[in-house]
Symmetry: none
Subunit: 137 residues, 2 copies
């Protein structure tokens, strides 16, 4: 969006390192704080929140709002997912609360279908499928 000038700080590097070390994983702001603290590299929580916001703006990580009351989830956007344009969908079990994320081509068709037939541009970042997982059924 806007190429805002950024300082390269130690805290920012630590965050990036952490995210790169856990690809395909949803982490919360609290997770980040706890992890860094337990590794002797504690960062102030306000810094974590502020950096997360920046990284989202820059498109380096993605923010997911799974549920209004649980904390927001962040996930590293691997460089090759830009190329493939792969969409990630999320399923949340209403019973056990488990979060499942799907990379499925067939589900991508939902987007095309909604766009073509219903003129609706689906936002995979916000949309979550609720239901029951295998164990809870």
């Amino acid at each position: 969006m806007d190429p805002r000038p950024k300082y390269k700080t130690k805290q920012r590097e630590l965050l990036l390192e952490y995210f790169e070390s856990v690809p395909e994983t949803h982490v919360t702001a609290g997770d980040v704080c706890k992890y860094l603290k337990s590794h002797g590299a504690g960062i102030g929580q306000s810094t974590v929140y502020r950096q997360l916001e920046s990284l989202v703006d820059e498109g380096i990580i993605k923010k997911y709002i799974i549920d209004g009351n649980s904390p927001a989830c962040f996930e590293y956007v691997t460089p090759d997912s830009h190329v493939e344009g792969e969409v990630c969908f999320h399923c949340k079990c209403e019973k056990c609360g488990k979060l499942i994320h799907l990379h499925c081509d067939e589900l991508n068709e939902i987007q095309s279908h909604l766009m073509a037939e219903h003129s609706f541009k689906l936002d995979p970042l916000r949309t979550v499928f609720y239901g029951l997982c295998e164990q809870c059924m």
Copy 2:
């Protein structure tokens, strides 16, 4: 699903009346409290939250999470969207807030697909597709 409504209380009726009086509108828990209070029928806020949760479970109202930090929105689901045997999906425009009801066989395939390929039992009552409507695109 499960016979959720147990008692018919005055507070529950007030809430239902209110929602029926403002169809096609999204209101927050705070709006409900304020409205009822200004009409001489104040209800404890915990009751409001607890009833809202029940009504959502029963499919009478829908809950929308537009943004993680702003309060959740609720909206009355009109009875005609409860056409028998038909599954109703909901799309919510993130920009103008418009709610779109979809009765589409193709979308029913999503359920089958999720069940067959991902062992996930989709709950159409709870699930909302977020995105942008035609006008807002």
